[in-house]
Assembly symmetry: C2
Homo-oligomer: 277 residues x 2
Amino acid sequence: MTPPPTVEILAIGNELLRGEILDTNTQWLCRLVTARGGRVGRVTLLADVETEIAAAVSAAIERGVAVLFTSGGLGPTDDDLTLAAVARGAGVEVVLNEQARAMVRASYDDFHARGIIAEPGLNPFREKMARLPAGAEPLVNPVGTAPGVFLRAGGTAIISLPGVPPELEAIVSRTLAPFLDRTFGSGASASRLLTVRCNDESIMAPALTGVVARHPRVYIKSLARALGEVPELDILLLATGGDPQELQSLVDAACVDLCQGLDALSIPHRPKAAPTP
Amino acid sequence: MTPPPTVEILAIGNELLRGEILDTNTQWLCRLVTARGGRVGRVTLLADVETEIAAAVSAAIERGVAVLFTSGGLGPTDDDLTLAAVARGAGVEVVLNEQARAMVRASYDDFHARGIIAEPGLNPFREKMARLPAGAEPLVNPVGTAPGVFLRAGGTAIISLPGVPPELEAIVSRTLAPFLDRTFGSGASASRLLTVRCNDESIMAPALTGVVARHPRVYIKSLARALGEVPELDILLLATGGDPQELQSLVDAACVDLCQGLDALSIPHRPKAAPTP
């Protein structure tokens, strides 16, 4: 089995670092990558500072990350500087992209025709959203005006997405679907969730340690809760990326092993419905 | 005015990068630091990999960050390795801390006395939570068993907190309050929030650009929404860290300036109640 492609995320915006906005985009992207068998290795939240974003982009390229998602900073205002920073980090210029310009114009015309905004067509601020790193391709934004942007730099595919969640999700789910299929495959996974009548990880730890070591391809995680809420813990067992039947046998074997360990410690347990990916 | 102390956050845990858990701790810490006039410059989410966490810790120390918060990875299980990583990143050993050991024992005894857990006292997994970087101080955890940990390394105060939100919040709000007062001061701030009858940042941009340039001490941010939801945007004006009356005049002046710019573009606007910090 080849190792899963590594993914990193740069979430960009002063509003994230000031705590005004809860960054739900990152969790959404992490779930998607994990469900498809990829591995998110690092997420960085950065302010709207071009040099810092550029440095993070070039560091990710140097680390050989397969896919780098950026979220935020694609809009028309001066503090939207992700594309300039991505270009700088990748060592290319920013240039007006005619295909992107046509997309931006078409989406403003469409929003105008639907009576949502007052003015159709382009202006310099709108046109800024079509100024992409040289060599980049625009990605259709089915629900907003700023196109996503796809750029290859070294071995890294850099995918820049708007920060507004429905726009980010629409570009990834619709426009990027073929790329995700090619990069991550079908995204097969198998999982089991076990509810354990024990709220004390320190008692359960001996059972977990051995199982984790004996089943390296299965992800096993006790989901800690605040003590005292409910005297129970959930344990997730999950395998991703590969033949579905093989994944299920791996997870089943680990689950049997874990249940035996819990029985040996007299810790009651029961299966729980697995989470949707 | 001296620049505000810079803060960074390391949020640690495979469950964050796999998207199983939404990282609400980071937003909570960002709001707290911002409300007190500090500035969060960077947030990094990392998996439970000791070398990667250690590298991030030493990079933050080298950048001269004033305060580095870590969240997660303080529990009794083998994948809780934040303290080992912080020690490695700071270049010190991990040692059993007697004060922390007494805290851990006392909290398990207390949970046992209240009928919440079955076994009182210590075991090797529980004692692991008292193995701190050499020179560190434990921070009382008023609601859980893992103490927080305070370590000075170079010019950086490293504050390691459990990932369970009520525990993290209790340690910061109660145990750390004197440190926060010393580091950030009273945390005075002043703000205004303006609702603008315009859903098109590209039309509003000319008004914002000048105001931002003319009021460098005021943070001015249009909070973008998905187009089509409501034909309105909110704009936040905020100043932190300094004399409260001065902060209010700064924000008021910027607000008057912005309203004139919006009037010039015939964009309707109205004041909105300011957010609680």
